[in-house]
């Protein structure tokens, strides 16, 4: 990337929309490229592992698969760059997480295949509740690779991407957090946003607890639990049976975990609807019903089957009415919106932020 920043940039501008998430990081670029990868960064532990891996750094699922040979980082646990130890995935020191975040951003930008002779302007969707230090760290990480960068809240990016800027409630379910945001034609401020910690990781933990309590003798890791959830996650009464294979005393054994998974997934509905209720209650009474009928469901967690109708049903019970619309591309909803913002932003604004 050094050569990229040093070369003459007279070809034009590449706009990037980046969704920097706890679980996945995605990019959509104005050259038509798009890419997504798990937000894991692994550094070779020693010379031997470097030789066997053939690389100093691995990203995403590659890093997770070879984690025994790596110092593994998940730099954006709970949506922000972690400053303490990440006990669930080994190393997690502050400097290491910052470096991993920088390398992750550099990698996702590289996957958008920028030309060496064009300027790169990026909008990064950051968690609504990220602190100023966290935003500073994200900006620092990005500035090494792009020419100009802006941050925006993830729910705002989703709404902007769908051109739904008036009287909309956005539910962005990430791995670390669930961001609720009220859009009413202006930039959402703090009173328009609520961040909950019942994201995908919360569901994983709840699912694992239930499995531990009910599957006697079965051995499984957090990763196996997550894989089962991603394959079968549903809140529907008539969900597809979730049959998983876990070893018992070394022997692969098939378990029906449908009920445990449904229970875990349903846990996130009440807090979400409760949060929506708060945002609705503090809105202009004249437009509250319109707000309830314009709820956008986005983020990786929106892929839980039946979640939209389950939230609608819960809204009916708690708020009297509700209409939830799931966005078409949960993986790229935030990145698409960020790209649209990047493209629409006047050129002089980009110049001033260089």
């Amino acid at each position: 990337m050094e050569t990229m920043t040093n070369s003459k940039k007279d070809h034009g501008v590449l706009y990037l929309g980046i969704d920097l998430g706890t679980s996945r990081t995605s990019v959509c670029a104005s050259n038509g490229e798009r890419a997504t990868l798990s937000s894991f960064v692994g550094y070779a532990k020693d010379v031997v592992s470097r030789k066997s891996l053939g690389a100093d750094i691995l990203f995403g699922d590659d890093a997770l698969a070879k984690r025994m040979s790596l110092n593994l980082y998940r730099p954006l646990s709970q949506g922000v760059i972690q400053e303490g130890a990440d006990t669930s995935h080994g190393l997690g020191d502050k400097a290491g997480n910052l470096r991993a975040a920088a390398d992750l951003i550099k990698e996702i930008i590289a996957r958008a295949k920028p030309r060496k002779d064009e300027l790169v302007y990026a909008v990064i969707g950051a968690p609504a509740e990220a602190s100023i230090h966290n935003k500073e760290a994200i900006l620092d990480a990005a500035r090494g690779t792009v020419d100009s960068v802006m941050l925006c809240s993830e729910p705002f990016a989703v709404a902007y991407g769908l051109d739904m800027l008036d009287d909309v409630l956005v539910i962005d379910i990430g791995a670390g957090t669930v961001d609720l945001c009220r859009m009413h034609g202006t930039m959402p401020d703090e009173s328009d946003q609520i961040t909950l910690t019942c994201g995908g990781d919360f569901v994983d933990r709840a699912f694992e607890e239930r499995l531990t309590a009910t599957l006697e003798g079965a051995r499984f890791s957090a990763r196996m639990v997550k894989e089962a959830k991603e394959r079968y996650a549903s809140v529907a009464d008539d969900m597809e049976p979730a049959m998983v294979t876990f070893p018992v005393n070394g022997k692969p054994t098939v378990f029906d975990v449908t009920e445990q998974l449904r229970e875990a997934c349903r846990l996130i509905i009440p807090p979400i609807v409760e949060g929506l209720g708060k945002l609705v209650a503090s809105f202009d009474p004249e437009f509250q019903d319109r707000l309830k009928d314009r709820v956008l469901l986005a983020g990786g967690g929106s892929q839980i089957r039946g979640l939209d109708t389950a939230i609608e049903a819960c809204m009916q019970d708690m708020l009297g009415r509700g209409k939830v619309q799931r966005i078409e591309e949960p993986m790229y909803g935030g990145a698409n919106g960020a790209l649209k913002i990047a493209h629409d932003m006047p050129a002089e604004y980009w110049e001033q932020l260089k």
Binding site: N31, I132, F156, L165, M187
Partner: protein, 302 residues
């Protein structure tokens, strides 16, 4: 130069011939490149011209050596000239790769008074003297002596006028004592035990000196080789990179943005004013954040 030698022979005028080589020039070339080599040879040439009457000097470079014929110079003055060149070279400094380099030279000298019969013979004897001077550690001159015919051996340069060096000079005090002890022992006046003791001390002293000298040379040679390897490694990396650029598969140049010529809001959109306000608000928020971060950093620095 041949004509000058013939003229000298015909008219009986004296002529000195010098071959000047820069010590370890090959290493310096490998370490610092051709430019440094040329600079060093140029500086020696200048030194030669400054040290002689320029109208009399005939000199030209040949490979890594400089050949010089100095007419109308007596044998003793030729020695002084060679000595001036050796000490003058010691004072030269060069800059390369951020380092200050110092050099020394080895000079083979021959004079018509030494009995040479042809210019070719003069050249051969001067070259052999220069080589011998370099093999003795350099930083000196050797005046060649035409071999005595009876020996029939290959012409051997003698060293009647080596440049003063730390290893040559008057016999050391221990040598005098040792010689006196030896004389007394042989004449039966002294004790053989005393002689053996003094001999042993002398041998030990010589061994220590040699060990120290050899280890010092080894260290510097080792360091030189390491630097040379590092330099060659860098050159190899650069060459490999150039080869990759030239021969390797074309690197991915990236994909052009489809928005190359189209940027900004579409004015025909229905909510364009609202979007302008939103984007402006987003920009303001980012600008504010940038200022806060910069102020925070400047205050933490101060």
């Amino acid at each position: 130069m041949t004509a000058e030698f013939d003229r000298s022979t015909r008219f009986g005028t004296p002529l000195a011939f010098l071959q000047i080589g820069v010590d370890r020039l090959g290493y310096l070339h490998d370490l610092y490149g051709e430019e440094s080599r040329q600079e060093i040879l140029g500086a020696i040439n200048d030194l030669l011209r400054r040290s002689t009457r320029s109208s009399d000097l005939l000199g030209y470079p040949e490979g890594d050596r400089i050949l010089a014929a100095v007419p109308h110079i007596e044998g003793e003055h030729a020695n002084f000239l060679a000595e001036r060149l050796v000490s003058g070279a010691r004072g030269l400094t060069f800059e390369a790769d951020g380092r200050t380099l110092r050099i020394t030279v080895s000079i083979g000298l021959i004079h018509t008074a030494d009995g040479v019969e042809s210019f070719d013979e003069m050249v051969v004897l001067a070259r052999e003297s220069m080589t011998t001077a370099a093999e003795k550690g350099g930083d000196r001159y050797l005046r060649a002596v035409k071999p005595v015919p009876e020996t029939r051996g290959p012409s051997q340069p003698a060293a009647p006028n080596p440049s003063p060096s730390p290893t040559s000079g008057e016999p050391q005090f221990t040598d005098v004592l040792l010689a006196e002890s030896l004389r007394q022992a042989l004449s039966g006046e002294g004790s053989q035990a005393v002689l053996a003791k003094e001999l042993l001390a002398k041998i030990m002293s010589e061994v220590e000196d040699r060990f120290q000298n050899s280890s010092g040379t080894g260290d510097s040679r080792h360091e030189l080789l390491e630097r040379r390897v590092a330099k060659l490694g860098d050159m190899l990396s650069r060459t490999e990179a150039q080869l990759r650029d030239v021969l390797g598969p074309k690197a991915d140049q990236g994909i052009s943005s489809v928005y190359h010529d189209v940027q900004g809001l579409n004015p025909e959109e229905s909510n364009v004013e609202q979007k302008k306000e939103l984007l402006s608000a987003l920009f303001d928020a980012n600008l504010r954040m940038k200022k806060i971060i910069e102020e925070d950093r400047s205050s933490s620095k101060s």
